[in-house]
């Protein structure tokens, strides 16, 4: 149950985000919020686990997380992608203790129960002596992730068996995901493995930043403008569209600053541009043509960055694609997993340039991204304190400045400028709706359906 005080903060927050365009600071770094968030947000949402290209062969696996639960995401002997809870059904031991690899079976190191990569229990040592051969192995397979879904190579899991389908959950966001994920016939490849590192910051700050915060680039990333890694206009991220959809998703699509010519289609190689024009709809092609930067978040914690950036101060820009997971490990701590992806059919020169642009500007050592972690750490520390928590945070950018863009060819609610906070409000509103919606055992309704969320909002407004 939510404590009354938390509920009041959240219900007031829901009213304020609509009426005043503010968000309660208390949602950022608070242990009770974090506890509630585990079940109410991460227990119900579709959470990114892996990209299919990470497990191309039968038996390939990676270990990934939904909140604290860890899952073996593998391709089984029949080529099907599966997610098994990494916990033995006997005493709960991890049956897989590597981060990635290839295995037909997972053998528990404690007493040796052995599971195949479909999750079935196939071996119990001394089964005759210890269990009189009466243990019904079919009842003791590894727990599957309750829901597993794939969209254009992205594998998601969901702990709520009554959740809407992944397709419905992604909804209109798919139009934009396609532009990033579906440009080529053979699809994307995660190169190597994700970088993993820990930042003393709440995960929502990463999600909020990527979903719509073009505004911070002017100050936070000014060094990149000064050095010429980003376009020579400190307001380079203003010139774009700011779009969000239902279920808290959103993104910004930024073109070149006025008077600064940049290549079309993120300067991608010719063969990929040829393929994407064939694969994507005319509207998607129109949206993608002028793009120099795409940043977005799939609720809750998967972000996308597709950027045109130079690898140093003397080289021309190259585009790269990164996915990052803001994995919560406490109210004031997250692990970042940063993935680099490239079209399998891109020429080698592009793969190499794209990798270099990515690794030098983004990720743990990236000269561009470094400054973000500094901000998020500092915010998290400050907002963990009792007086600071009582603040409202200002999400009022664009208020009375511009209206939704009627001419935008894509779905969702679009605004004609990326210095905006509509996506961030939409994210926070959906997050707060999930937070005030009681789980099945309290309401008799296991679904966080749109109706339940609307009911919660109505209650909050009453």
């Amino acid at each position: 149950m939510l404590r009354d005080e938390l509920r009041q903060i959240l219900e007031k927050g829901l009213r304020d985000v609509e009426a005043d365009w503010t968000v309660p600071a208390a949602i950022i770094n608070d242990p009770e919020m974090h506890d509630a968030e585990r079940e109410r947000v991460f227990g119900r949402s579709w959470v990114f686990l892996a990209h299919e290209s990470e497990i191309p062969e039968r038996g390939d696996y990676v270990v990934r997380y939904i909140s604290e639960d860890q899952f073996i995401v593998c391709r089984d002997e029949d080529g099907e992608v599966r997610g098994h809870l990494n916990s033995c059904r006997h005493r709960g031991m991890q049956v897989c203790r590597a981060e990635m690899g290839n295995a037909s079976h997972f053998r528990c190191p404690y007493h040796g129960w052995t599971y195949n990569n479909k999750g079935s229990l196939v071996g119990v040592p001394a089964g005759r002596e210890a269990y009189g051969n009466k243990l019904d192995k079919s009842l003791w397979q590894l727990k599957p992730v309750p829901k597993l879904g794939t969209y254009k190579g992205l594998v998601f899991g969901c702990l709520d068996p009554d959740a809407p389908s992944l397709d419905d959950y992604l909804g209109d966001m798919k139009f934009y995901l396609d532009i990033v994920l579906d440009r080529s016939d053979a699809g994307l490849q995660v190169v190597g493995a994700p970088q993993r590192w820990v930042v003393d910051a709440n995960w929502k700050l990463g999600a909020d930043n990527f979903i719509g915060d073009a505004y911070h680039t002017m100050m936070t990333h000014r060094s990149m403008v000064e050095l010429g890694l980003a376009p020579p206009d400190p307001k380079f991220a203003l010139y774009g569209e700011h779009v969000h959809t239902e279920h808290g998703h959103g993104l910004g699509i930024i073109g070149p600053p006025p008077g600064i010519p940049l290549p079309e289609f993120l300067g991608m190689p010719e063969n990929i541009v040829e393929q994407l024009q064939r694969r994507l709809s005319p509207e998607q092609v129109e949206v993608f043509r002028p793009v120099a930067f795409i940043h977005g978040t799939v609720f809750p914690n998967l972000s996308i960055g597709n950027f045109l950036m130079s690898k140093d101060h003397v080289s021309p820009p190259t585009s790269f694609l990164t996915l990052r997971l803001w994995h919560p490990i406490g109210p004031d701590k997250m692990e970042i997993m940063s993935f680099f992806l490239v079209e399998k059919e891109a020429p080698d020169w592009y793969k190499e340039e794209s990798y270099q642009a990515y690794v030098r500007t983004f990720g743990i050592s990236g000269a561009f991204e470094q400054d973000d972690a500094e901000n998020w750490r500092s915010i998290t520390r400050v907002l963990g304190a009792q007086y600071a928590k009582k603040m409202e945070l200002n999400y009022q950018m664009g208020r009375g400045v511009y209206e939704p863009d009627p001419d935008w060819p894509g779905p969702g609610k679009a605004f004609p400028m990326d210095y905006a906070e509509a996506n961030q409000r939409n994210f926070m509103e959906y997050w707060m709706q999930l937070m005030v919606t009681d789980p099945a055992s309290h309401t008799g309704n296991g679904k966080v359906s749109d109706e339940a969320a609307a009911e919660a909002l109505a209650r909050a407004e009453a």
Binding site: A193, P194, V199, A201, E335, Y355, R360, I364, Q370, D371
Partner: protein, 172 residues
């Protein structure tokens, strides 16, 4: 190609002093001076490691790294610190490079040495009473030039797979 370069005590002492001097430059923020110690064909790589089973050939990931710099990108990092906007290191971290277990061997080229060392890097920022520690092994190639050595290659193999610092903004 291995040459018969003899590794004398004097060479070991020179290399040790070079590494200690380098650590001092890095811990006192003298990055410009540090760049002067770096060869123009620098390769500076921090590999990405993952937890693998013992039977795996290596735990180093192919195709992805934590850091992969050349001279230009290193100069870019130094130039960045000289702007007013390098927030990640302004105010600067206080750092300490502890360099031990120095092993000097002949390099692949006649004028090069292959130097291994262990690194413990302590880092603390702001007034928070916490710190980060990075531990790893450095594999350097030092090239002999008039009046000393230049760093031609460095591979820093960190011991953590999930790295416990919020960014690799410091040179290791």
């Amino acid at each position: 190609m291995t040459t018969a370069t003899e590794i004398t005590d004097a060479t070991v002492r020179e290399v040790t002093e070079w590494l200690f001097g380098e650590a001092e430059l890095l811990d006192t923020g003298k990055y410009r001076e540090w760049l002067d110690l770096v060869a123009e064909d620098l390769s500076y790589v921090v590999p990405l490691r993952v937890t693998r089973e013992r039977e795996a050939d290596t735990d180093i990931v192919e195709g992805m790294t934590l850091m992969d710099d050349d001279w230009d990108s290193m100069e870019m990092r130094v130039l960045r610190l000289e702007t007013e906007y390098a927030w990640a290191e302004d105010p600067p971290s206080r750092s300490r490079h502890f360099v031990t277990n120095i092993r000097v061997a002949a390099g692949e080229a006649e004028d090069e040495l292959a130097v291994k060392s262990n690194l413990l890097l302590y880092r603390t920022r702001g007034d928070v009473a916490t710190f980060d520690i990075l531990s790893g092994e450095r594999h350097d190639v030092l090239r002999r030039v008039a009046g000393g050595y230049r760093l031609a290659k460095r591979v820093v193999v960190l011991d953590q797979t999930t790295v416990m610092t919020h960014n690799l903004a410091l040179i290791m």
